[in-house]
């Protein structure tokens, strides 16, 4: 199988052009949980990891919210701050484990009173406000399935996900309801309840719309979590493939074993840590590590409502005394552009461990961490389907800048290729590229795509889970990202499916065909670029380009819509009529176009 190279960072093609960052015991401020990679890996077992959790009383199973909140609220951590919320306007609101227990009990009772049953889907569509965290954790207590949506999605991605996931309840703000939900509400017959955060309900509003805070206030603060099987579904996270609609990856309550232990091993959580994960819960990182893992570990987790702003971020790191920081390449590269001078105004000596995820972190950025913060950034790799960190650079392991590191204890990763007979076999020679694959199963492995069993089965072959990422492994076991095996676009840490964008573009009356690719970008890794051919009678001019851009943005939201549009007389297609995104991408990159003999008319 031939894989296209899609990574703009050419350093990834040459293992170790950068000197490794050597880790020494002298640098340890605390003993890292993973103090020796081989020793900890050899000793590791998932049963022992599970034993770090309490389980529900009387052997009634395993529930994420019990491990995250209830067990701490009933013990010595009751008064510790679980979540410190920083509002855009400078407000600070602390939620101790006890207060969070009380509020999430109330929300679980709200769901109970609305007739929400185990396994029903409760969606959230909100910025990083406390209510989002209360709703998510309360839903887990009630054993309904929580699905956090990214609040920057436009109405169309919101509608698609609520429909596919058959949402019964939606928790959102008055403003988001007005802008993104009101107009599509009639098209969502399964959506029985919309709980609106804000002083006033938007009017007019259909039956089933209620005020979140009124309900929470009226509800009892006592709630008993009922028996939860570790295999009961808990979380639904949408992700994108090359084709088809977004896929809802299902994670179970048992995933908490992986959330908890990967927090300890890959992010080096220690009991007194102040942890800041900058990701939004609308993406899997913002749930697994922005909600669950810091709480199961009894830490204080910082939640900032505001969007990225370098000086604000340095202020948070300093003022909150952040010790472990988990952020994303796009933000790191923006900070790099600003240089180290602004950082010198802040006292960041409490920072102990820096990690990054979302897309491969270029080696310059890994090393820049040392210059700027006195610590390298530790890149790690995982995806929506894996539920937790799978491959990582660790506090006590030498960092090879540009590498995603080595597999977590309990995780077996490999590079595989597809044989002529269609089977999958491991590539054993170091440095050979192929598809990154993982051996099932681990606790946070997805258990299905919502109502899409065929697409789930396609992810597995010959005893491997196929990740869709192309990578290679060097002779010492470090993995290096090469590119995507499919046409999915990685932009600012988000995966965007070209089909979802193309489907909206072709709804415009002027558009005959659309193909969407990721255009390499030094800050965002890739930007969404659309190629469009027009129907007869439309002129490919700037005015139409602007109109199409606005059309796509209004429906998809700024984070999903194209940043750039180009017109072509026709789009290149295979003889069977399939649009060749690969060829458009090769042209964009100025690469050889390869064998175009299967193309219709050579386009």
């Amino acid at each position: 199988m031939v894989y296209a190279l899609q990574n703009p960072c050419s350093e990834h093609q040459h293992p170790m052009p950068w000197n490794p960052i050597i880790k020494s015991r002298r640098d340890w401020e605390v003993i890292p949980n993973l103090y020796d990679y081989d020793v900890v890996r050899n000793r590791f077992s998932w049963d022992e990891a599970r034993a770090e959790l309490d389980g529900l009383p009387a052997g009634e199973g395993l529930n994420i919210a019990h491990e995250a909140i209830v067990r701490h609220a009933a013990g010595p951590l009751a008064k510790r701050t679980a979540i410190r919320w920083l509002g855009k306007d400078g407000t600070i609101d602390d939620y101790s484990y006890r207060r969070l227990d009380d509020l999430t009990n109330r929300f679980a009772n709200v769901l109970q009173s609305l007739g929400v049953a185990q396994g029903d889907r409760v969606f959230t569509l909100a910025g990083r406000i406390p209510e989002l965290y209360i709703a998510a954790l309360g839903t887990l207590k009630h054993r309904a399935i929580v699905c956090p949506l990214f609040s920057a999605f436009g109405p169309e991605p919101v509608r698609a996900r609520l429909t596919i996931g058959q949402a019964k309840v939606l928790v959102t703000t008055a403003s988001l309801y007005q802008r993104k939900v009101a107009a599509i509400r009639a098209a969502l017959p399964q959506l029985e309840h919309v709980l609106v955060i804000g002083d006033e309900l938007p009017a007019p509003h259909p039956t089933g719309t209620a005020n979140f805070h009124h309900l929470l206030h009226q509800a009892s603060a006592d709630y008993h979590i009922r028996a939860t099987d570790p295999e009961d579904p808990a979380l639904l996270h949408f992700t994108s493939g090359t084709t088809g609609t977004p896929k809802g990856a299902i994670h179970v309550h048992g995933a908490v074993v992986a959330h908890h232990i990967t927090g300890k091993l890959a992010l080096d959580f220690h009991p007194d840590d102040i942890f800041w994960c900058t990701a939004d819960p609308g993406w899997v990182t913002g749930t697994s590590y922005g909600i669950i893992a810091p709480l199961t570990n009894g830490l204080t987790s910082i939640v900032d409502e505001a969007e990225f702003d370098a000086e604000r971020w340095y202020g948070i790191l300093q003022d909150q005394g952040v010790t472990v920081w988990y952020t994303a390449p796009t933000a790191i590269r923006m900070m790099m552009k600003l240089g180290v001078a602004p950082i010198r105004k802040f006292d960041l000596r409490r920072l102990r461990f820096l990690a990054s995820v979302g897309e491969p972190l270029n080696p310059e950025a890994v090393v820049w961490g040392e210059q700027a913060f006195g610590r390298p950034f530790h890149d790690n790799w995982w995806q929506t389907e894996t539920g937790g960190i799978m491959i990582a650079n660790y506090a006590a392991m030498d960092v090879r800048p540009g590498s995603m590191g080595r597999p977590l204890p309990g995780i077996e990763a490999g590079i595989v290729r597809t044989t002529d007979s269609g089977d999958v076999e491991p590539v054993t020679e170091p440095g050979q590229q192929g598809e990154l694959a993982l051996r099932p199963s681990w606790p946070s492995m997805f258990r299905g795509y919502w109502n899409e069993s065929a697409r789930y089965k396609q992810c597995f072959a010959s005893g491997w889970y196929l990740t869709g990422d192309v990578a290679k492994q060097d002779k010492d076991g470090y993995f290096w990202f090469v590119g995507r095996a499919d046409d999915v676009i990685k932009t600012s840490g988000h995966l965007i499916g070209p089909f979802e964008v193309e489907s909206v573009l072709i709804e415009h009356k002027a558009v005959a065909e659309a193909a969407v690719i990721g255009k390499p970008d030094p800050v965002a890794m890739e930007l969404v670029k659309a190629f469009i051919s027009l129907k007869d009678g439309y002129e490919p001019d700037e005015a139409l380009k602007r109109e199409l851009l606005g059309f796509a943005r209004a429906r998809l939201g700024a984070v999903v819509a194209p940043k750039e549009i180009a017109f072509l007389p026709t789009l290149p297609k295979t003889r069977s009529g399939k649009i060749m995104r690969r060829l458009l991408k090769a042209r964009e990159l100025g690469l050889p176009e390869g064998d175009t003999s299967t193309l219709e008319g050579g386009a």
Binding site: A152, E311, M334, A341, G550
Partner: protein, 85 residues
């Protein structure tokens, strides 16, 4: 003889640049002292592109450390007025 562009000219020009990036936005309703990102659907790349377009259109140098000064319409107007004299 060159005419000095008025505040109103600059304002129209800035809004035009914003409209290039977010054509769907209702710019007439924009509050000049509230940040663009609190009112419009702009992601971080949109904001970056907006600042770059200001730099090109007004021939002004915008170091990255000054980006926060450009987050509102009045902020942009003040910067443009100060830097173009």
């Amino acid at each position: 003889m060159t005419t000095i562009p008025s505040d109103a000219d600059n304002r129209a020009h800035i809004l035009r640049l914003l409209g290039e990036i977010a054509p769907e936005a209702d710019l007439a309703a924009l509050s000049p002292d509230v940040s663009f990102r609190d009112q419009l659907d702009l992601d971080s790349m949109d904001f970056l592109n907006f600042v770059i377009s200001l730099h090109k259109a007004f021939h002004i140098e915008i170091p990255e450390s000054d980006y926060p000064k450009y987050t509102t319409l009045n902020g942009c107007l003040a910067q443009v007025a100060a830097l173009r004299t």
